[in-house]
Every structure is written in structure tokens, then in C-alpha cells.
Amino acid sequence: MMDRPTVLIVGNPNVGKSSLFNILAGARQHTANVPGTTVQLERGTWRTDEGELDLVDLPGTYSLVARTPDEETVANAVAEADPDTVACVVIDTTAPSRSLYLLAQVAEEGVPVVGVLTMNDLSEAHGHKVDPVSLSRWVGVPVVEVDVRQGTGAEELAKAVATVQGSRPVVKDLQPRGRLSRDRADRLSLDLDAARDRADRLFAWVAAIVDHLDAPPDRRRPSDAIDRVLLSPWTGIPVFLVVMWGLFELAARATAPIIAWVTGFLGGPVANGISWLLGAVGLGGGWFESLLIDGVLLGISTVASLVPVLALVYAALGVLESSGYMGRVAVVADRAMRVIGLEGRAVLPLMIGFGCNVPALTATRALPDARRRLLTGLLVPFTSCSARLAVYIVIAETFFPRHAGTVVFAANLLSVVLVIGVGMLLRATMFRDVTREPLAIILPAYQWPKIWKLTRSVISRVGEFIRGAGGIIVSALVVLWIVAAIPVKGGHAIGDVPVEDSLYGAGARAVVPLLEPLGLGDWRISSSLLTGLVTKEATVGALAQSYAVDSPGVANASDFGSEVRATVNETSGGHPGAAGFAFLVLVLAYAPCLATSAEQRRLFGWRWATGAFAMHLTVGWILATLVFHIGRLL
């Protein structure tokens, strides 16, 4: 069977590429991963009068000089295009310069090009509709207008594609030449002068065409009034805080019943079913049942309980991104973020981190530069997630019952200070190459998010999390079960051993000397901190379990608090307040939770995930020690 010619749909983000793809491919489409990457491409078949064509919807990019895996895919697809491949470059008539620059780069790669005008209805509304015939004359390649809303223009586009197929691009005043984007290594070794001169030449070409288009240089939009509110530091920052608060509220309230149902279902009927099945085959009631239920099933339950939160946060992020609001947030936060060498776009992952660190790490992918993504990803776990909030409340109620609210607020404030402080430290040491570049973005037009695209994006991102971090979480909980099930004293059987007599208890005792300088040298506290490495919420539960106090009932909770206070009073030499605040600081900073570490490994690799863990232990320990010793003096 002969290979069908390929048509690449190339264009800037949010210019209607996917809508164009849907019009041309109809239902004949599927999603496929680019080999060796997590980048997904939409592929389909375009049936035209001239025959069938393979259609590829490439990720959006502004340039073939790639910075992200998605953009690498575009650059490689263009650089490695077969001779009969045609690139349909989508030209957004509301921002033609960016589209034409990309078109010029594609044409210089030697790929036959057809320009596809979209958004012309929006341009018409602003009084400067672009005439495709005139633009075709100025550019030198066929230009076709396609109304992606009405679905018109596909036949003309098919004819234009057939016209240029197999030809060399004849873009006016530009010649096909060497490949800029063959691969990343080539790009990094490029002569900067040559790259700049090439860009200069292409921009001069773009500018000459844009002059013809007669677009008003600084046109006003109806959305300018909204921008005046969202871009002012006085109103934009409060609006952003309200939006983020709404997101957290939604994430907490909407997902709580789902999480309760999922964990209840797994911990109830599923666990009972496993017990019944094991009992039926004569394996019930022993360590194997405990391993399956308290190890494997607990791991699956932990991952499953994260899925609703992640799905909702990813969906909310998708709405913020696709509506155009994210660009506004980046602008308004830019000045503050530059203090730590980051740009405005980094504010979103850091804010999401106050809800949950895991989706916050995923959100770093919106940053265009790998070093900034990494720097932000190292700072995210210093943001005080909502899981830690529950621990703060218990610690504050235990040690500062009359000022609990203030203490919890101080912990969150300290989280912000830590992000800034560690950010400045990292920038001054390991990230000196991250310069304080100004954020210069042109704001995208406001748009309604597309539900189907959003849904696919959420499914894809959640799937990535389950595949990348889910296995690590389940495995780690199984390992934790094993160390808690192995008795080291007291003559207990495997899987039936009190915590203090287990290998886990022995590990907790081994850590105690490290906590003595913080006034927290007790195995029950160290065991709660070890459990907190898995999930922060479990810190309090582990502490209560170690004290063998049942959680329900005010009297019991009070007893628990009194016992902890009495212990810390003893370990701190009579300074329970200072040690209590050191405990709180430790919970804030000593380590990311298991899911966060797993996500860091997935995004940045083992080396950085391990380094981040070590950095947290160091920073948390030093800070908590300082807090304790300064607190003793007060």
C-alpha cells in the first residue's frame, strides 16, 4: 500500500488548529503518542476530491526554535517532513506577525506551505479583515480562509494543498535553507550572531507584510476594560487571590464526598471482599491478608483519593489557561516573582501548591524554560499544602491553645518566606544562569474554554500521574507495611506487632538523636514525622496511634494534647512552646510527601527528586533548630 501524503497543521497556540483538524478529519481521528515522549498528537484522515491525506494536528508553538517537548515535536515534524508533505500554517489574523514568522520558518525548512486564515471574523469585527487573495500575493504561497466555526473553506484548502504538494515553497523573498531545528544539540551550538541575523531577516519580511495588512497598530478591544482591572496590581492581585481561594474551596468541598466514597468503598466492600476471598482459600487472617489490605490496597486507596483533587485542579487550570486569564496573572505577578529569578507565570504553580503540591508540580509545565521549571519545581514543596494545615491546627491547639489561629497563619506566612528565601539561595548558587528576564507577552484574547479539549487534557494529565507516580506510591506503602510488620523485639509474629516493637519503631528510635537539638527527642514524635513522609495528613494519626489514644471524643483529644505537651515539656527542658513551634516548622519544611517526591521524580528525574528531598531535610532541620533555640531565649 502506498503511503498517503501527510498534511501537518502548524500554528501558534489557540489559533484554531484543533478546530480546523476536526473540520478536515471529522470522526476519522485518533490520538497517538510521539515515540519516546509523553507528547500526544491527534492524527486523522482527510478525504478530499484529490484523494486521502494523513492529517497531523501538531502542538501549538510560536517558533521552530523549540523549548518544550511539545515544541520539539513540531520542529522535528517539520525538519523531518517527507518531500510530499505539506504544512498548513494557521494564520491568526488578530495577531498575524507571530503566525507569519512561524510560516517563514517552516518555508525556510523547505516544506511546501499553505496559509490558512482563521479568526478573520474577529478581525472583521475590529474593522481590518484580511483578504486572503492579497495576502497570498504578498506572501507568495496560497492562502485560504477557513471559518472554523461554520466549517467552510475546506474544499478550497484541499485544492491549495494539491497545488503546492511536491513543490518547493516559493515564499516571496525567502529561500529554503539550512535547518535550524533539526535537534536540540544543533540549536544549542548555533552561532548566536547567525541565529540573530536570520531572525532579523525573517522579522523584516514579516514586518513588510504586516505593513500591507493595514492593521491598527495598537487596537482597542472590548476586553480592555476587564484588563484594566485584572492587570492593575491594586485590583489584579486581589482578584487572583479570590480566584485561587475559589479553586481551593471547590477542590476541598466538591472532592471531599467523592474521596470519602472512594476510600470508604476500597476500605469497606473491597477490603471485606479480599478478606472473604482469602478466607475461602485458607489464607485469611494472617500477614498476607494484612499485606494486601494494609499495604497494597492502602496504596491504591491513597492514589485513588488524589485523583478527584487532581482532576478538579487540572480542569480548573485548563479553564484558567484556555480562557486567557493565566496570561493576565503572569503579568500582574511578574514583578514579585522576579525577586527569586522567576517570571510571573511561576506564580500559579506556587499558589496551587498551597492546595496540593502534586498538581502544582504538574503546573510548572506551563513555564517555557526548563531551568525555570526546575527551580519552580524545587520551590513548590515549600508551599504549605492543605494537608499540612490539619497538622498545624493540631500542633497549634496543643502548644498554643489561646493563639492557635495566629500560629497557623504564621506557619503559612513562613511558607511564603521560605519560598522566597530558598528561591534566592538557589538562584545565587545552583541557578546563576537563570537571569531576571522581563516577561514580555502579548495578552491572548479572552475565549470560552472548549469542554471536549479540557476533558481530554484532564484525562491525559491524570493518566500521566497514575502511570508515573501511582506505582511509586503503592510500592512505598508496601515497603512501609513490611518495616512496620517485622518485629525486632517482644517475640511477636510478622504482621502482628505493636509499632514500638517493629522495625519501623526501631527506625523511629534511631532518628531520635537528630530531633534532640530541636527539643523533640522522643520516638513517638519521630515516628509521626516518618509517617508524614508518606502523607502529611497521617502525621497526627501516627502520633495519636503512638500514644494509643482514640481520636473521637473531646476528652480523649484533650488527653492526647496533654500527653504530647508533657512529653515535649520533658524533651525540651521546660520549653514546650519553642519546641512546639519547631515541630510545626519541621512539618512545614522537612520533606515533601511521597506523592510529591514521586511527581518530582517523574518531571525532573531521580537525581533532582533526591536532591530536593535532601535539601528539605537540611533546611527543615536547620530552621527548626534555630526556631527552638531562639524560642528558648524569649
Binding site: 540573530r196 522579522f203 513588510a208 537571569t435
Partner: protein, 80 residues
């Protein structure tokens, strides 16, 4: 875009702290052309190199001086 306005001049303007709209007005360019130039300047590493080397000048006068040797934008500037 006027004939003398180059990619390097836009990078110098924005690297010195101008916004996209500000550079657009002062250089007489369309904002999305300026944005495209800034985007490409970032990708090529020109903007960061300009910020780390060239922006310490008291404004880029367009005339080559002794300290301009490390500036990534000097290539397209007239020298004296």
C-alpha cells in the same frame, strides 16, 4: 516597521525594561510583532544575554563603546 528598526533594537528596548506595548509605541511597531520578536529573543537566549551583559549600560545609545564588546546586540550597531 520602519527600515532601520531591527530585531536587536527591540530586544535592547525590552531588555532595558520596556513593555511590549511600550516598545511598540516607541519604535512604531505592531504589538504582536514586538511580542514575536521578544519571544524569539528569549528562545535564542538573546534577551537573557542582553539582560546579563548589555542592560548594565546606562541605556543602549546605538553607538559602540569599549564596554559593549560582550553585548550580544553590538553586532548590528554602528561603531565609533
Amino acid at each position: 516597521m520602519t527600515a532601520h528598526t531591527s530585531f536587536a533594537e527591540v530586544i535592547a528596548e525590552v531588555g532595558a525594561g520596556a513593555t511590549v506595548n511600550g516598545a511598540s509605541r516607541s519604535l512604531g511597531l505592531h504589538p504582536d510583532l514586538v511580542a514575536a520578536m521578544v519571544e524569539e529573543g528569549e528562545r535564542l537566549g538573546l534577551l537573557s544575554r542582553y539582560v546579563s551583559t548589555g542592560s548594565s549600560c546606562s541605556g543602549c545609545s546605538g553607538v559602540m563603546r569599549g564596554g559593549c564588546a560582550t553585548c550580544p546586540l553590538t553586532h548590528s550597531r554602528p561603531s565609533v
